[in-house]
């Protein structure tokens, strides 16, 4: 087979690669637009890949056949564009008979999990922190003694993982393995405060106000004097990183995805 979707430079196997060999992957890793193109988010993508490889998870990506889930269009009110994207993606996913998907982004997670089924796309969809929890629980990865020992970590709940889908524990359970000091912001879990990027705000200037949402949220996180602000969403990551820079704290406070924490703990 010499199609552009199988003939690529990447060491990562696509669904087309699997199909060409008559194999079926364990899970499809839905990388997402941020994870594919945003320089900061690409590091999270790589961390997830390293963990998957380390744990010997037979995974595939869609590569050039992946396209935006339509989430930002839908939240912005463009239902047409959303459904066009959804139908296109569903055609591809169903064509490969995809059963299980892990996403690197809570927005992709929510859209694929909740909004694709009634359009004909039925898959088991999990967020990467849930997969990490599965891998840790089943001992496919283990973490001994920690480079994070004594570090203070606070987790910022992504709205589309937390309130939108009631997933609060997976990222926390994963981080328990780090042997670090986990500390909670006053507004956490169901009461978590948005980073300011959701609802397509990521792609526009904020409306007029007296403060940016990410500043409000970063302030709250920094008040705990953490070493690390942990996140589970590439957009939260951008917003919190910008917030930390705004307070000139980027030398002392790192904003890291839960996947990056695990990859670092394993020295991957």
């Amino acid at each position: 087979m010499d199609s552009p979707i199988t003939n690529h430079q990447s060491p990562i196997r696509t669904m087309a690669d699997y199909l060409a060999k008559g194999e079926v992957p364990e899970i499809l890793f839905w990388v997402g637009c941020a994870g594919s193109f945003d320089d900061r988010a690409k590091k999270i993508t790589k961390a997830i890949v390293k963990i998957l490889n380390y744990a010997n998870v037979k995974f595939a990506v869609l590569g050039t056949e992946e396209s935006c889930t339509g989430d930002p269009a839908k939240r912005a009110g463009n239902e047409f564009l959303f459904q066009m994207q959804a139908m296109n993606n569903i055609t591809v996913l169903n064509g490969y008979e995809v059963k299980k998907i892990v996403t690197g982004c809570p927005h992709c997670f929510n859209t694929l999990k909740n909004e694709y089924p009634s359009l004909g796309g039925n898959y088991e969809v999990i967020h990467h922190t849930q997969l990490l929890q599965e891998l840790l629980d089943s001992k496919r990865i283990t973490i001994e003694g920690g480079s994070f020992k004594g570090k203070k970590i606070t987790f910022h709940d992504p709205c589309y993982l937390g309130r939108a889908n009631d997933v609060y524990e997976a990222p926390r359970q994963v981080m328990l393995n780090l042997d670090a000091e986990l500390t909670e912001m006053k507004r956490s879990r169901a009461n978590g405060l948005c980073c300011g990027a959701g609802g397509a705000q990521m792609f526009k200037e904020a409306e007029k106000g007296n403060k940016e949402v990410n500043i409000e949220r970063t302030e709250e996180a920094l008040s705990l004097n953490p070493d690390i602000i942990a996140v589970g969403c590439p957009f939260c990551n951008t917003m919190m990183t910008d917030g930390v820079k705004n307070f000139n704290k980027e030398q002392t406070v790192k904003v890291l995805d839960v996947a990056e924490l695990i990859a670092q703990a394993k020295d991957l």
Binding site: Q9, S10, S36, F37, C68, L81, N110, K208, V213
Partner: protein, 441 residues
């Protein structure tokens, strides 16, 4: 005899007027679009028991929750005593249940009295929170004018009501101890009411029997007049939540909060674009509108939400946009929806039940695009609402109208749409480069 007739007339008039107004509100709610919220009755009863009856979500903020619990339980339990008051009023008896119920009667009325004292304390605290402490969410700009007055009316009304109860019971206690009460004398020397047997002699101890009878009657009639007045005030007030909270929670969204509806009308068009031979239901004869411009474009549940809102502002105080000074307030979205719906209802009343275009609409007339575009769709407002109101769904429906009917999205969002259309990503990156991140692995 005369008093019985006056009572029956007053009571019937109150009940009829209330029913008329409730039916009007029901009619207004039903101009909303159909949505299925009748599935899963067992889960719905459960959520209603926990959230509405059990006040579960209130306890996310314990202090107002406890104060509210005082008022709520006093209100609910008092309804039992009201049965006796109505019976007494209709047949001209006095404390007709006491001889038959005996000790249980004393217990019940005493229990109500204790709750009434707690409710009195709660009401004073609520008045202070609004007017003295000025709790931020209770003094926001959308409450200026009528909403603020409405809130204070209700609280002052509750105080008055409780005062009438203690006038009635207190004076009656004094009369009873003197053998002068109209209640049947069971030779027990006291009605034995937990609060009034002490409060009555303190307040009214030195009064003449004539004055005591007058105080007792003022208390009794004042009480029932307040109850009927309150009942008929409800349909004009945010306080209607005491009734609508129950159906509103019953008809809650049971699905994940992140799941937004997929517009079926859009699905049909998209299917036809993919395959001109696709079988889709024929478009309806009525002109179709994508998203919501006015209240009739919303679902009946969204309209029920609007009437259920009691303007507590938990949504607004947790809204990231509002916290950071943006114009958006989820509470205002609900208040605007209700106010516009009330206006539409009056329009229908004036035009034989048919709505005549008044050139106004919820969007722009009440809610501005600036408010809608400030939303991060974070669901904090939905999470916070103690009666499961969903302001977010209204915001999204109105964004849909702005985008799909008016192409009125902010420029940057239009660029994002174009990028998704052309490149399959919200930014200007080529789909062919989607795997580039992996090349240096």
């Amino acid at each position: 005899m005369i008093s019985s007739i006056i009572f029956i007339i007053l009571f019937s008039a109150g009940a009829v007027w209330f029913t008329i107004n409730v039916l009007k509100i029901r009619r207004n709610i039903l101009i909303g679009k159909e949505i299925d919220r009748k599935d899963n009755p067992s889960q719905r009863w459960k959520i209603m028991t926990l959230v509405a009856l059990g006040q579960k979500k209130m306890f996310a903020r314990p202090i107002p929750a406890i104060l509210h619990l005082f008022l709520y339980s006093a209100f609910v339990i008092t309804q039992i005593e009201l049965i006796e008051i109505v019976c007494d009023g209709a047949v001209g008896s006095h404390r007709m249940f006491r001889p038959a119920l005996g000790g249980f009667y004393t217990f019940l009325v005493s229990f109500i009295e204790i709750l009434s004292v707690l409710a009195f304390i709660g009401t004073i605290a609520f008045l202070s929170r609004r007017n003295l402490l000025k709790v931020p969410r209770l003094v926001k700009s959308e409450l200026n004018g009528w909403p603020k007055l409405d809130a204070n009316f209700i609280l002052l009304g509750e105080l008055t009501l409780i005062c009438f109860i203690f006038m009635m019971n207190g004076a009656d206690e004094v009369l009873y101890s003197q053998g002068l009460s109209h209640a049947e004398n069971l030779n027990d020397g006291s009605l034995g009411l937990a609060i009034s047997s002490h409060l009555g002699p303190m307040l009214f101890g030195g009064m003449s029997p004539e004055s005591l009878h007058i105080v007792e009657r003022i208390g009794w009639w004042g009480h029932i007049a307040m109850v009927l007045g309150f009942l008929n005030y409800l349909p004009y007030s945010k306080h209607f939540h005491i009734l609508l909270a129950f159906p509103n929670v019953y008809f809650s969204n049971l699905l994940a909060k992140g799941k937004f509806t997929n517009l079926e009308s859009v699905t049909n068009e998209v299917k036809l674009m993919f395959d001109p031979n696709a079988v889709v239901p024929p478009p309806s004869a009525e002109p179709m509108r994508f998203g919501a411009k006015d209240v009739m474009d919303l679902s009946w549940k969204q309209l029920l939400d609007a009437y259920t809102c009691t303007e507590c502002g938990r949504c607004t105080s947790s809204c990231p946009a509002n916290i950071t000074g943006k114009l958006l307030s989820p509470r205002k979205i609900m208040m605007d929806t209700r106010d516009r719906l009330t206006e539409v209802g009056k329009n229908m009343d004036a035009n034989k039940g048919e709505f005549k275009d008044d050139g106004k609409s919820l969007l722009t007339g009440y809610i501005t695009p600036e408010e809608l575009w400030a939303c991060t769709s974070c669901n904090a407002c939905v999470q916070e609402c103690p009666v499961n109101i969903d302001p977010l769904s209204i915001i999204i429906d109105m964004r849909r109208y702005l985008v799909m009917e008016q192409s009125a999205a902010p420029t940057e969002l239009n660029m994002m749409f174009t990028n998704i259309e052309n490149n399959g990503a919200p930014w200007q990156f080529a789909q062919a480069d989607r795997l580039k991140w992996s090349e240096d692995l």
